[in-house]
């Protein structure tokens, strides 16, 4: 059993939770703790209640536990909203002069307001809290100081100095509480060298590693984080980044870009992707590659724009009119996010089809440390050929893949067409001739794609009795739950590729006495897919669709109820 401490900060948007979060996360990691952080927030810029959970441990923690050890509410509403997560042992840190919280047991009163004003501005509360935790977690105050210097140096020495004073004041207070709050988590120096990433980072870096050199989007939560990363990278790296007028423009720009030799990424969310549906079909027909990052949030329509759900699988599966192949990948952890996004570019280029990376708000906004990314294992594969005079863009081939040329590279002409076309890319109505051959070519290509699916990953013993099934962002939460359940009869089958399904899927499912699907949506869309593809009906479902991810604790309970 790992030792872990869960700190939750909650308050209004704009009260600085995010800055405390980044201070703490930084500090803890630099001090050698394993760290996990995730946030939930409302669709507003000020007010309401947002919260962040930070978990520190001496083992890697990768999934969200809802239990709170130390709670730092910045407003009374924050306490109200999170009260179900407070237990008898939860320490609540507040400034009683500011928040009138009745239940005074377990409360640690810190006069944040008073101290900050002494230093010169109420804004220093955040740094005082950081100092407090620096002491509580037995970190070297110098680390915090250097973080503060890095952070505030641009604002001038005075601001730096005052922040350091604030940190010291917090540190002193924290020292006084080290007897009351005993924390026994081992530090590990190596963690300092770890990477600290969230899902958006892993996807963005994966894209770059996969040879992505363009990114188009229209802002939409939660997909914007990836777009923002790419924009930031564009200052130094060779990526063309453009915010397009609408999502229709986004996908068509991406297709134009791929057509002429770029490797463009599109980042969007459900409603935005809905608008790209026709463009997806254009990718299918013209066999122009494209990589789409689809960051899910609860629908329908605008829904809960800053929340999480795995509700757009069906949309990704069936979007676009007519029949054409596609590939859908759904990373479950940071490493997969990196690898699969890179892979997506190679697959798109190779098979000339749309490839999806499915994520969701929880995945995008969740951080933890990992030792490294398999940078050297990822190779950018280019499938563009240099054309010759007699080049035909849609040459009929056995495997359905026509070598792809681009304009200006070679002597051939590259003509692509959204109408049914002949090998030259010209409109045809030769229904039983080339038109039908072209349809069959695309169907053959799909068969080819099916041959090289990524196999689902089995966690646990081969001779499982109970099999949990999941995809995408539930991966880590399920693994955490299994770690705690410790039942050797239960295994977990995870699908990094959700479409097409690997041919061994049915075999895995049939082996189990009981199969339980776990999905963060209302109806079990992946279970439906499995049924329609394999005929195997998964009867036991653990579903959640209130806009939040599963917590490890709740998943443990739900799994135990089912077995």
């Amino acid at each position: 059993m790992s030792n872990k401490l869960s700190i939750v900060l909650a308050g209004e948007a704009g009260q600085g939770i995010q800055s405390v979060e980044s201070l703490l996360v930084n500090l803890f990691k630099k001090s050698g703790y394993h760290i996990f952080a995730t946030k939930e927030y409302m669709s507003r810029i000020r007010g309401g209640v947002n919260s962040t959970t930070i978990i520190i441990s001496d083992e890697p923690i990768i999934g969200w536990y809802e239990k709170i050890d130390i709670f730092v509410p910045f407003s009374l509403e924050a306490i109200q909203r999170l009260k179900s997560r407070i237990n008898n042992d939860t320490k609540v840190i507040i400034d009683k002069s500011q928040i009138n919280y009745e239940n005074s047991e377990n409360v640690i009163d810190i006069p944040l307001q008073k101290i900050s004003e002494e230093i010169g501005s109420p804004l220093f509360s955040n740094t005082i809290i950081a100092g407090f935790f620096a002491a509580l977690l037995d970190t070297d105050i110098e680390i915090l100081k250097s973080i503060l210097i890095d952070l505030f140096i641009k604002k001038g020495q005075d601001i730096v100095d005052k922040n350091i004073i604030a940190a010291m004041r917090g540190f002193e207070i924290g020292n006084n509480y080290r007897n009351l709050i005993k924390i026994n988590i081992k530090k590990d120096e190596k963690i300092q060298e770890h990477l600290l990433l969230n899902g958006a980072d892993a996807i963005s870096i994966g894209a770059l590693a996969g040879g992505c050199n363009a990114c188009f989007a229209y802002p939409m939560t939660p997909s914007t984080s990836v777009f923002t990363n790419m924009a930031t990278y564009s200052k130094k790296y060779d990526i063309a980044v453009e915010q397009v007028e609408d999502e229709i423009g986004v996908i068509n720009m991406a297709l134009g870009c791929w057509y002429a030799g770029g490797r463009a990424l599109v980042s969007t969310s459900g409603g935005g992707f809905a608008l790209m549906t026709e463009g997806l079909s254009l990718s299918g027909m013209t066999e122009t590659p494209v990589v789409i990052h689809l960051a899910q949030r609860p629908g329908p329509a605008t829904g809960l724009p800053t929340r999480t759900e795995q509700g757009d699988l069906n949309l990704a599966l069936y979007a676009g009119h007519g029949t054409f192949p596609r590939i859908i990948l759904a990373p479950g952890n940071l490493k997969q996010a990196f690898e699969l996004t890179a892979l997506a570019f190679n697959l798109a280029d190779k098979y000339q089809v749309p490839v999806f990376i499915m994520s969701d708000q929880y995945f995008i906004d969740t951080y933890y440390n990992i030792a490294e990314l398999p940078v050297n294992d990822v190779k950018v594969e280019y499938y563009i050929i240099k054309t010759t005079k007699d080049y035909k863009r849609y040459k009929i081939t056995d495997d359905g893949i026509s070598p792809r040329g681009i304009p200006a590279y070679g002597d051939g002409l590259v003509a692509v067409d959204s109408d049914e076309h002949d090998e030259d890319g010209r409109i045809t109505e030769d229904l039983d001739g080339i038109s039908l051959q072209m349809k069959n070519k695309r169907l053959r290509k799909f068969e080819k794609i099916k041959e090289s699916c990524i196999e689902p990953v089995l966690y646990g013993d081969e001779d499982y009795r109970i099999l949990l099934v999941g995809w995408g962002s539930t991966h880590n939460i399920i693994l955490e739950a299994l770690k705690e359940i410790k039942n050797r009869e239960i295994a977990f089958l995870f699908f990094p590729q959700v479409f097409p399904l690997h041919s061994k899927t049915a075999k895995y499912l049939n082996k189990a006495q009981k199969v339980i699907i776990i999905e963060n949506n209302a109806t079990g869309q992946f279970a439906d897919l499995i049924k329609s593809q394999t005929g195997f009906e998964i009867k036991e479902k653990i579903l959640k669709y209130n806009g939040l991810q599963f917590s490890v604790e709740e998943l443990i309970n739900k799994i135990q109820e089912k077995i």
């Binding site: 300092q192 050199n213 200006a408």
Partner: protein, 280 residues
């Protein structure tokens, strides 16, 4: 003299269609400019006009109805050395594609946009287009068009498009010159070209266009307000260059990576090690 861009073979337009005339004009323009076939890409949407690239020996991207402009911009992004020409219909460009029209002008990629303006939806058999004139009766506009037609020139000028012109298939020489200059112009260049749809537009015929147009004389295209005023002139409609803004930087030159150097995307590689360092 042979024109390498001219493609033999059947053309699916109606005999007498104005598209034939414009095709000839475009073919001469690109030939006379001696454009490099390897670096010339046509982009179009869907419609009769949008079939134009099919009938030429060129690279082309024949995309979705209304969506030529973002695709053209994407092409330019991938390889700014390409000469990119968009050919599409009035419905395609100003109707379904209206939003891209607005914002592509703002973005100002170096592309040439030739709109085959026959004031009707040809391919779908004669419904009103955004440029259909008031009163035109169609199977859908059963009591006649009553919506104010789009004035593409005024619209483009209001958005500060860097080159705004109107041609007409009835004036091939003028139109060819407008197109040539548009291609030579660095920036978003619009040439709206009047042409007849002999099957579905019985009002705006070849003859009508002849009778209702005149060539612009004595106009300073760098005066935006005057250009706008000229664009409002109707019955007869002026032909020629309405507006020119030489001071706009083209989109692709604004992108950081092309500020650094001009190499097209497929020749570049990124190294990600640096990023990872920043995440420690």
């Amino acid at each position: 003299m042979e024109n390498i861009f001219e493609r033999q073979g059947e053309i699916a337009w109606c005999p007498g269609c104005g598209n034939f005339g414009l095709r000839k004009i475009v073919l001469s323009a690109i030939k006379e400019l001696n454009l490099d076939q390897k670096n010339l890409v046509f982009v179009s949407g869907i419609g009769q006009a949008a079939k134009a690239p099919q009938y030429m020996n060129v690279h082309y991207f024949n995309g979705l109805h209304g969506r030529a402009l973002p695709a053209a911009t994407g092409i330019k992004i991938a390889n700014p050395e390409l000469t990119v020409i968009v050919e599409s219909g009035d419905g395609d460009m100003y109707g379904e594609g209206g939003n891209h029209f607005l914002h592509s002008i703002r973005r100002n990629p170096d592309i040439t946009v030739i709109v085959h303006n026959n004031m009707v939806y040809g391919l779908t058999k004669g419904q009103a287009s955004p440029t259909s004139q008031k009163g035109m009766v169609t199977p859908i506009q059963v009591e006649g068009v009553f919506e104010t037609p789009v004035n593409p020139l005024a619209l483009a000028i209001s958005l500060d498009a860097s080159y705004v012109a109107r041609g007409s298939v009835g004036e091939p020489e003028l139109t060819k010159e407008l197109i040539k200059n548009a291609i030579l112009h660095k920036g978003f260049a619009l040439i709206d070209v009047f042409q007849a749809c002999v099957s579905f537009n019985k009002i705006n015929t070849h003859k009508w266009f002849k009778e209702n147009t005149y060539k612009i004389e004595n106009h300073n295209p760098e005066d935006k307000v005057k250009a706008f005023e000229l664009a409002l002139k109707e019955y007869p409609f002026p032909l020629g260059l309405f507006y020119l803004n030489r001071n706009k930087i083209v989109f692709e030159d604004n992108l950081p990576l092309y500020r650094r150097n001009k190499e097209s995307l497929y020749k570049r590689k990124n190294e990600i090690k640096e990023i990872l360092k920043s995440k420690k």
